[in-house]
């Protein structure tokens, strides 16, 4: 049995990871620098001479930042719950049931998403008017749940298929109903994937900009964060970079926290070995 020296291997791996970490963190470091920098005009790569908290103070004083982040958190969390439920039941059907049109329907879900939805805002706006969900956070929740679930069904199907059929057959022989099998047998096994679904649906809803900026027209405090952020950058003659970066920084905290708290599900090893690929 030939084995490369463990230390050499470790050094190689960590050099690679550290290099990547630096590449990943550099733009982020810039955002932090600009957010705390004083009197920043452009994004040209100069390190600010003075640092200040004034940008954050202005953010809270001059914009409806707290409202925005509250709206976005609400949209993100509700979308997350709805998407996890939708994805679970839909994927259960696709993965576990034998039915007519299964493959075609699955392809249908994939194909409709090919259409660049954000470019047909005329149609989306009409739908919102017809359903009466214009200027309403509920409307954004519904549309974001659709966007997130549609995309994530494709992802989760692959994982559900890896859970052996024998497991639910065994459960059903023991007298469990389909719903019980889903909830007590399959979903616990699919936890890593459900965690990904939860994070990604939150990210999608939290960052969605195009639809929100079109269907929300009544008032600054009804906007989600992504729209509010964008308004800081689309000034005609200049962008308030410092405030924008400060807002982006604070705005990404909820996602980092969410990721951190869900991390244990896809690294915990609780499912190790029980699932066969």
């Amino acid at each position: 049995m030939k084995k490369s020296h463990p230390l050499v291997k470790k050094i190689c791996v960590h050099t690679f990871l550290i290099f990547l970490a630096i590449v990943t963190i550099t733009p982020f470091a810039y955002i932090v620098m600009i957010a705390f920098g004083k009197n920043i005009v452009g994004t040209s790569a100069t390190i600010p001479k003075e640092f200040t908290l004034a940008n954050f103070q202005r953010l809270f004083r001059e914009t409806a930042f707290l409202d925005w982040i509250k709206n976005s958190l609400w949209i993100g969390l509700v979308t997350m719950i709805i998407s996890v439920v939708f994805v679970s039941i839909t994927v259960y059907a696709f993965s576990r049931l034998r039915f007519h049109g299964k493959q075609k329907l699955f392809q249908f879900i994939l194909l409709v998403q090919v259409f660049p939805l954000t470019l047909s805002m005329v149609s989306i706006f009409r739908i919102f008017v017809t359903l009466g969900i214009l200027n309403d956070i509920k409307g954004l929740i519904i549309v974001n749940s659709t966007l997130a679930s549609a995309g994530l069904v494709l992802l989760a199907k692959g994982y559900f298929d890896t859970i052996p059929f024998e497991i639910d057959e065994a459960a059903m022989v023991d007298g469990a109903s389909r719903l019980q099998t889903l909830i007590h047998v399959i979903l616990p096994l699919a936890k890593p994937m459900l965690a990904v679904v939860a994070i990604q649906s939150f990210v999608i809803a939290y960052n969605e900009y195009v639809i929100a900026s079109t269907v929300m027209t009544q008032g600054l405090d009804t906007m989600p964060l992504a729209v509010g952020l964008q308004s800081m950058i689309t000034g005609q003659y200049g962008t308030n970079w410092s405030m924008y970066c400060a807002a982006a920084l604070l705005g990404s905290l909820p996602m980092i926290v969410l990721f951190y708290s869900l991390q244990k599900y896809f690294i915990g090893g609780m499912t190790e070995g029980s699932v066969k690929l």
Partner: protein, 772 residues
């Protein structure tokens, strides 16, 4: 069990609740006005509105707006709804499209001599279109000559543009070959602030008819004088008074001015607070006169109020508008708009009484800005106005900063003018409409729906890895399955399928900037247009789009799985830290990181090149060389998408049974081999649909546009740039001329193209997965 049921019920109830609450119809006479993004200003208007209510009994709702640029599209969308605005605050240049499609009420009858006397001329002329006045200006966004008093004294200020250039050259201080103090600093690519100089040399925007209306077919860019302008700017560039970096722009000028390194710049007060904080002693003077002695006029955007033609209380709206325009109320608004005592300079009053008030006059800067009101030329407000800006920046970039060889300015400017005229022609293209009886639609719809249903039902399950007895569909399970899938399917039908069909319909109409309200069917004219003209560079663009999508997905997938694999082997705590770092690209708003990358990859000052030069590597034109730009685009987009794959792969790798690895170990495999022969294939198999989806998403990737703007630009004006993806390019060309129906036709064609591609890749990947 119970909890889950409860959750289900709550979710469904939420849905019903959302559907159930419709906007309530108004009962009392009620006006709605869309106003500012500044809350102080909105508060001031609310106070004015409550005074008005006390006076007349009409209540007014003041709606704060996220920014003024959305006003056009939002008004088009909302003009006839229950929640329609009666009065809208918007920019004068934006009224063209709205007037063309009849969204604005002409205010000419309301504009009496009194209003004319009380407002500066440009407040009304900016809103004049086709002989009618559609709005009244409130704030004049203008610019002048900003000078640093430590470098240029007030007595030295130039009289004419010739003086300006002479003085600027005189005041420029060189240290070796690089200027350390710029007497003045201009941006050669810019049209807006340089417009007075261009006028000085004989160029102009659009020519005018004898009655003063703009003639968009008369483009003033291929005039003989423009060549003098180009020569002058090239000369000035050598003298250190024009930016020499091909991508630097206004913000660079301002930041150098803020560092006290610039004597004069043509600019407004948008960064006044930063200049003050930096302790720069600056002044705002009027622009130098033209060399023939006439006054130079700054290109100006006026912001003011317009009235929705579909307002249900037309007379009341006009009355309230007149109330707002009263001097005292204008005073209140302007003071609030400048944040009271802070006097930010955000609003420059169009009302003459306000500009002479103590509030304005007591501030040197505000008063000098308002003194410039008479020396302005409103930005053309006809729908064709913005066409210019689609090309001028890139054209001037290629004239002043050619990448390969010299560019003949005369030929280039001629080409530019021709391109603008072309676009104007396209924009005003009217195609004859056709009549189709309504039953034809019904038949078509029925055919499509039955076709789809048959197609879906016919399909068989062909999953080979599934035991054969499970392959045969069963009716009972079909019912259950369809029931479970139904909620998502309904949402998909509403939010995905309807837009697709609606787009197909729109692509058969003449829906465009000039027919926003009354569009009709014109048959396949849009498609004919696309195919007869052909896409320029279609093949190269498709190849690039395909390779872009493939590279991004493949590289970020392998990288993501590799990292997940490595992290699984490392210490748990270290892995946690790494993971938090690696997910950053995924969770930080994309726009901002794209702009950061743009800065990092900049050729001369970007951090990447600065680091590389430390180890002796010469500057690499990351985003300005056609081929290197393609590579950097792929790298940056990979940077964005690998965290997603990493996270998914982390989950999937957990599920790989240990005995697989143990078996490999027994066979003497090293980590490298284990990764490529076990981890990667297994993860790949579970992720096929997601990979196809990501691949498709990369086709519709608009992030590239933020990063590179599609550039570096092609040699021929209007051709796709080196990093233009299929979708960004065709949409840009269609939207530049407001031809939304053509954009819809393009989106249908691209949809079909990608759909075929997706189906093919499903087939191929399934075969690979089954064999592998």
């Amino acid at each position: 069990m119970k909890r889950v049921c409860l959750l289900f019920i709550t979710v469904i109830l939420c849905g019903f609740f959302a559907m159930g609450t419709r906007a309530h119809a108004e009962e009392t006479p009620h006006l709605r006005i869309w106003f500012s993004q500044y809350e102080a200003e909105n508060e001031a208007l609310r106070r004015i509105a409550s005074d008005y209510e006390a006076l007349t009994g009409v209540s007014v709702e003041v709606v704060s707006r996220i920014n003024i640029f959305n006003a056009v599209s939002d008004l088009v969308n909302n003009a006839t709804l229950d929640t329609r605005p009666d009065i809208v605050f918007m920019q004068a240049p934006d009224i063209g499209t709205l007037v063309a499609s009849g969204y604005l009420e002409p205010l000419t009858p309301m504009i009496d001599q009194d209003i004319r006397d009380r407002f500066t001329e440009v407040a009304l002329s900016a809103f004049r279109l086709d002989g009618e006045i559609y709005g009244v200006g409130y704030s004049v966004d203008s610019y002048g000559l900003i000078y640093n008093k430590d470098i240029i004294s007030e007595s030295e200020l130039p009289e004419t543009w010739a003086d300006f250039f002479a003085l600027a050259a005189e005041k420029t201080v060189f240290d070796g070959a690089t200027p350390v103090i710029h007497g003045a600093l201009l941006n050669a690519r810019d049209m807006w602030f340089n417009y007075p100089i261009i006028r000085n040399y004989g160029g102009y925007y659009y020519g005018t008819y004898p009655n003063g209306d703009y003639n968009p077919y008369d483009v003033g860019l291929d005039q003989a004088g423009m060549l003098d302008y180009v020569a002058k700017m090239q000369e000035a560039m050598a003298q250190g008074i024009v930016l020499t970096n091909r991508i630097h722009g206004e913000s660079e000028i301002v930041s150098r001015f803020a560092n006290g390194k610039v004597g004069m710049m043509i600019y407004g007060l948008w960064y006044a607070s930063i200049l003050q904080e930096r302790g720069i002693d600056y002044g705002l003077a009027s622009l130098p006169d033209q060399d023939d002695g006439t006054t130079s006029r700054a290109l100006t955007t006026v912001q003011g109020f317009v009235v929705n033609r579909f307002s249900l209380q037309q007379a009341q709206s006009l009355d309230f508008l007149e109330y707002i325009l009263e001097d005292a109320n204008q005073q209140l608004l302007i003071e609030a708009g400048n944040d009271h005592d802070r006097k930010l300079g955000t609003r420059n009053p169009a009302n003459i009484a306000v500009s002479q008030s103590d509030y304005i006059q007591s501030s040197e800067i505000l008063s000098s800005l308002s003194a410039l009101n008479d020396e302005t030329e409103p930005f053309p407000n006809l729908p064709e106005g913005p066409i210019w800006y689609n090309y001028t920046t890139t054209v001037f970039q290629s004239i002043f900063f050619p990448l390969s060889g010299a560019v003949d300015p005369e030929a280039k400017l001629g080409e530019l003018a021709e391109k603008i005229r072309d676009d104007v022609r396209l924009m005003n293209l009217q195609v004859e409409r056709i009549e189709i009886p309504s039953y034809v639609y019904m038949i078509i719809c029925l055919l499509i729906v039955t076709g789809l249903i048959i197609y879906i039902i016919r399909g068989r399950i062909q999953n080979k890895r599934c035991p054969s007895y499970l392959q045969k569909p069963r009716w009972k399970q079909t019912l259950l399955a369809w029931g479970l899938i139904l909620p998502l399917m309904v949402l998909l039908l509403v939010f995905y399928v309807y837009p697709i069909f609606h787009n197909m319909y729109l692509s058969l109409t003449d829906y465009s900037g000039i027919n926003l309200r009354e569009y009709g069917l014109i048959g396949f004219a849009n498609y004919r247009d696309i195919f007869v003209k052909g896409f320029q560079g279609l093949v190269s663009m498709s190849v690039w789009t395909l390779s872009f999508a493939t590279c991004v997905v493949v590289v970020s997938f392998i990288l993501g799985v590799l990292i997940a694999f490595m992290l699984k082997q490392s210490h748990v705590k270290i892995a946690k830290i790494y993971r938090i770092i690696f997910i950053l690209p995924w969770v930080i708003p994309t726009v901002i990181t794209l702009l950061m990358w743009q800065g990092l990859l900049e050729t001369e000052n970007g951090l990447v090149n600065q680091i590389l030069s430390l180890i002796g590597i010469p500057h690499i034109p990351w985003l300005s060389h056609p081929w290197i730009a393609k590579v950097s685009t792929i790298m940056v987009m990979t940077w964005f998408s690998f965290p997603y794959f990493m996270v998914i792969a982390s989950g999937l790798i957990q599920a790989i049974p240990k005995d697989y690895y143990d078996a490999a170990k027994v066979d003497g495999a090293n980590a490298f081999y284990t990764f490529f022969s076990i981890t990667l294939p297994l993860v790949f198999r579970a992720m096929i649909p997601t990979l196809i989806m990501s691949f498709i998403m990369q086709f519709n990737q608009f992030g590239v546009y933020i990063l590179t703007g599609g550039g570096p630009a092609a040699d021929k004006i209007g051709d796709p740039g080196a990093t233009d993806l299929l979708i960004t390019y065709v949409f840009n060309t269609a939207f530049n001329t407001n031809r939304y129906a053509v954009a819809a036709a393009y989106s249908v064609l691209i949809f079909v193209f990608i759909a075929i591609f997706a189906l093919l890749s499903i087939r191929i990947t399934r075969k690979v997965a089954d064999n592998g």
